[in-house]
């Protein structure tokens, strides 16, 4: 029996100004599951997330959070309803210390901010040593961990992360995914957009493929991973690069190489 759906979109159409970037997208994110959205650069993955979290206007369709219709609601109110969002870029407050960043993540908490911060420090030991540093002085990996921890400070029921491992070394990438899996196990519905398709599909309980703003495919991570044609056709550059590189190296390496290549 499927887990309870905590967040759904129905026919979600959104963009910047009046021009849609994503068209009629339906997704479901369930409790205790990682729902992954993959697709080529510019497919509209970040745009879809921004519309869900209330950062840009919804042109048509619905977003349901824990049963309530929330499309068009500003993001600060969605936090109170259990949503947390970790953007792809600019995902920390650079001039605030690590501790202050975490405090901001727990801004809506009535109590237990201190306890939650020490919980985050246990979860991400790197942050513990850096609590007094300003976020702009963190390494890329530490910054992404801080961004994730900041998102968790509000005890969300739905956690939405946009490319949590972009630009990270393989070691950090593994650590971050480890944490994402641990977060879902606490009863959270996680929605993750990920550049590294293979990695993402490995961690996914359910995955959607977004191409040119439309949902093209869905399935369990394993199903889509096994579908070489899907990788060839819809992951575009990455798929091709990976396939070519596969002749000389492992798939993992190929993915990472294309990752580095595609991110300036």
């Amino acid at each position: 029996m499927a887990n309870e759906a905590l967040l759904t979109t129905e026919g979600l159409t959104a963009g910047y100004g009046a021009v849609p970037i994503v068209y009629g997208v339906d997704i479901i994110a369930r409790r205790c599951e990682v729902t992954v959205i993959v697709g080529p650069n510019g497919a509209g993955k970040s745009t879809l997330l921004r519309a869900i979290v209330g950062e840009i206007p919804v042109l048509a369709g619905r977003v349901r959070l824990n049963g309530a219709e929330v499309q068009g609601m500003p993001s600060n109110r969605l936090v109170r309803l259990g949503m947390a969002y970790v953007p792809q870029v600019a995902n920390v407050f650079p001039s605030l210390t690590v501790r202050e960043n975490l405090e901001m993540g727990g801004f809506r908490r009535k109590s237990g901010v201190k306890e939650k911060i020490s919980e985050m420090c246990d979860l991400f030991p790197d942050l513990k040593e850096a609590l007094k540093k300003t976020a702009q002085n963190l390494s890329g990996g530490q910054r992404n961990m801080l961004a994730l921890a900041r998102g968790l400070m509000s005890d969300p029921t739905v956690l939405i992360v946009d490319e949590p491992t972009a630009g990270l070394s393989p070691r950090y990438e593994a650590v971050v995914w480890d944490h994402i899996v641990r977060v879902k196990e606490t009863g959270v519905a996680v929605i993750a957009v990920e550049q590294n398709t293979r990695r993402a599909l490995q961690g996914a309980d359910w995955a959607y493929v977004l191409v040119l703003g439309r949902r093209r495919l869905e399935g369990t991570g394993a199903e889509l991973l096994g579908n070489e044609e899907m990788v060839q056709m819809y992951i575009g550059k990455r798929g091709t690069v990976a396939a070519v590189a596969n002749a000389t190296g492992t798939q993992e390496e190929a993915d990472r190489e294309s990752e580095v290549g595609s991110k300036p």
């Binding site: 600060n76 202050e100 901001m104 702009q136």
Partner: protein, 293 residues
């Protein structure tokens, strides 16, 4: 040499007034990311608040309190009625520049129309001179400096340690992310405007009482030194503005003494130009590092 220090003493008083005004302006710009060319009117309106309050009650202190309230309300309204509507429509900076300048002109002319363009006199007790080391200050001078120290220290403590202050800094860093943290960013911005209005009001009240009289152009005439100090300090960094104010305050008073008091504004602007030649984004560029990613 003694005159050098006496002049420096005036410079510190002037710097205190500039600091109040520039710290407010810089704070408001940092948090809301909107330039406000009507900032001078917070000073002017507060001075008229002081004047009217004193006329009605006979008390300088009550007049000053009224002035502060007037400055805070004026700032709240400028944000609510002029700036926010433009920001919501995605107006460019130049539109805000023009519209806030328009507000400034309207306020100045309305005050001139209502109170007349002649100067108003602030009734002050007989000045008493205090010799402190090489400096000579009147009681008013000392009160002005004390006000600046208390107000700016208070602001520092709020920004550094309170939930509101941290939220203000968070909004200044990244408004979108602040909203995603559950912060009501519109409210934080509005509160920041009020704070800027109150600081500007303290500057206006200080300016009116140090000068003894003022007219409708009081704040507008002070805008250039305010912007100079704020920009030298790195606009958007309130505590940089403090240092900018010290520099501009001392330079203008020394220039007034050694060159001519007619050139105060010229020297303020020259200081700004010189500072920008060497540090194009202000002296305190390191306070906020490069944008993330």
């Amino acid at each position: 040499m003694s005159q050098f220090f006496e002049t420096a003493g005036f410079g510190l008083v002037t710097a205190s007034i500039i600091a109040l005004s520039a710290v407010g302006l810089s704070l408001q710009f940092g948090v809301s990311n909107v330039p406000n060319f009507a900032h001078g009117e917070f000073l002017t309106l507060a001075a008229y608040g002081l004047y009217v309050g004193q006329q009605l009650t006979g008390s300088l202190l009550i007049g000053a309190l009224i002035g502060v309230v007037v400055g805070g309300i004026a700032a709240y309204l400028v944000n609510l009625l002029v700036v926010e509507p433009f920001v919501k429509k995605g107006a460019r900076v130049v539109v805000l520049l023009i519209s806030t300048t328009g507000v400034s002109l309207i306020v100045e002319n309305a005050l001139g129309g209502f109170f007349g363009n002649t100067n108003q006199i602030v009734a002050l007790p007989q000045p008493v001179a205090h010799h402190l080391g090489p400096f000579i200050w009147t009681t008013t001078d000392l009160l002005v400096m004390l006000t600046a120290v208390v107000a700016i220290t208070g602001l520092y403590l709020v920004l550094r340690f309170t939930k509101l202050g941290k939220a203000q800094r968070a909004v200044a860093d990244n408004r979108v992310l602040a909203r995603a943290c559950g912060i009501n960013t519109e409210q934080v911005v509005a509160i920041t405007w009020v704070a800027a209005g109150v600081l500007g009001a303290l500057a206006g009240i200080s300016l009116a009482t140090s000068g003894g009289s003022f007219g409708p152009g009081l704040g507008f005439g002070f805008l250039l030194v305010t912007f100079s100090a704020a920009i030298i300090g790195g606009i958007g960094k309130p505590f940089g503005a403090l240092v900018g104010a010290l520099i501009v305050g001392l330079v203008t008073e020394w220039s007034a003494f050694y060159v001519s008091s007619g050139y105060k504004q010229v020297f303020a602007l020259s200081t700004l130009v010189l500072a920008l030649l060497f540090r194009p984004s202000g002296l305190f560029t390191t306070l906020r590092g490069p944008a993330v990613d």
